[in-house]
Amino acid sequence: MSRTASLAEGRARQDEVRRRGRRLGWASFALGVVQLAAPGAVRRLSGVDDSARSRAVVPVVGARELVHAAGLLTSRRKGAWAWTRVVGDAMDLTALGVALAHRGGDRRRRLVGVTGAVAGITALDLLTAVQATREARTSSVPAARGARTGGSVELTATTTIRKPASEVYAFWRDLENLPTFMAHLEQVRTTGDRTSHWFASAPFGKDVEWDAEITDETPGEKIVWRSTGEATVPNAGTVRFTPAPDGVSTEVFVVLVYEIPGGAVGKAVAKYFGEEPHQQLDDDLRRFKQVMETGEVVRSDGAPWGKRARKEFPQRPAQPLSDSELAKGADA
């Protein structure tokens, strides 16, 4: 429930930022039109009508405002466009500062007023830009959103294995085989016909373990499972095995769903999944294919530790391992 509430709250905040971005866009539009249509009035009002240079500067600033307006009103990336406004504000404040230093009396009073207004607008722009950027960052990647506020991550991957579906199914159905190719799994112990106990290497320095049960299965075709009890990272998965058109191979489709907790634990879990969680699942399936087709996980000198995905890249130099490196790798 609390997760749903926080998601709704996030969405409301995002809407608010977007609305403010749109309002700033219309403000830019109005300002730009005025500066282009009545530059004389603008120059008089702001107290810079005594300088020849302002004759050139005001319409240019007006044109720039129209660019901001176009960006803010049409682009979905309001964050980036809000930042262009911040840059524009900085330019305006600099110009106003220079003007202030050379003016006195009534003109100076008018300039101070305009400068104050621009400073206020700058603060609003800055706030909008920062918030819009943050919202964009947290909402573009589902995994990253999970990392910040808690949430679920769904991963899918597929491969084709040149073995009949019955054989591929049987290997997966013996869940104790999964750690041979899945990077994060240390061990799976079968505890009953449909129940099992899983150990994963830890994102927080100690191992995580949980119970799981198979909730649905069709021999040779499909296995559906989910974690049970108080799992640190509740998860569920489906794997389907479909005969490929070549009549020899099997297409394997995997869907995994992780409920990533919030807070520090959630961050650690998300980091553990890496920048590209899909890549890791793809690599897991690649190793599954290697094991099914060639009998084991293929090792090279640059990537000698088989299933340890996170040790594959960056790689070590492609030269044979010393005895001590080999010994270290044996239990890696």
Binding site: R162, E293, T294, G295, S300, G302, F313, P320, S322
Partner: protein, 391 residues
Amino acid sequence: MRANTWAGRNKVEVRDVPDPKILNSRDAIVRITSTAICGSDLHLVDGYVPTMQDGDVIGHEFMGEVVEVGPGVGPDKLRVGDRVVVPFPIACGACAACAAELYSCCENSNPNAGIAEKMFGHPVAGIFGYSHLTGGFAGGQAQYARVPFADVNPLRIESDLTDEQVLFLSDILPTGYMGAEMCDIKPSDVVAVWGAGPVGQFAMDSARLLGAAQVIAIDKEPYRLELAERAGHTPVNFEEVDVRSRLLELTGGRGPDKCIDAVGLEATHGSAHVAAYDRIKQAVRSETERPHALRQAIMSCRSGGVVSVIGVYGGLLDKFPAGAWMNRSLTLRTGQCHVQRYMKPLLEHIERGDIDPTRIITHTMSLEEAERGFDIFKNKQDNCEKVVLKP
């Protein structure tokens, strides 16, 4: 053991590295008796193939004697003491690509397939000593090498042919042959081959073996063209004549029926302007190739002909003449060589004397001299065509 390693751009270094050990059950360890420097090694040394690391053992053309086999290699497949030539692509023998004899596209032999997939769309096979993109396997310019899937890859040599006669079965002879085979050569065909380096020479010999009426060699090095001429091929020096005009002259205005690009991504060009254009684009990394040879092959080929590409390309090229390719019904065929497919039949050709692979060897030196070997091969000094190293 001693091994030749990549030590940064334009630098190789013979160093002490650990001896290889069995890592997978179907591995074998081979004591290398002969190994060669390949033109594609130059792309590594020149820095055009990404994902190289300081200390990578390079080399993918090698042969030797089996000194250890893993528990998964059946004695009927390979035994200690066997004399073997090792193909450069590592194939598992079990995946769909291997089943289709597309060994250089093996789906299982590249443990770093994720990177290759990003680069090429789909992964490619592991290759010995050829960057981490192709798996990060230590290469064969060394005293020993670990050979994965040793029950499917190495070719046993049971006759008393010399190393020099069979060594090139590991790469350049099958690569040249595949270049010619992809041309579907007919007896009336004129075949033009860009590049008279080792692979080009073997593509020419293979085209002749497959029945071509005439074979034309295109290069700029007089000694390479002479080598081709001595083998019965027609030389064209692109620094002296306009290639397309000369080819039209030699073919009654039709153009060669079949064209083979045996040059790849570091082509040189007769025109200084075109050369400068591509060199600059390559230097700022806005294209990875200098595809002069490929462009010229497409522009010169007769309508309806075949352009067969066996020169190595790494990434993206620019100014590809797609209009000529499409409007003139050209067929473009290519691939890293599926060496395992050709080793046995080519061994028989060597035994019968149809092909003499030793004709291209100009230098034999010790492994310790690898650095000098790279230097003279790369800079085409001392009329260097092919360097064989003896560990």
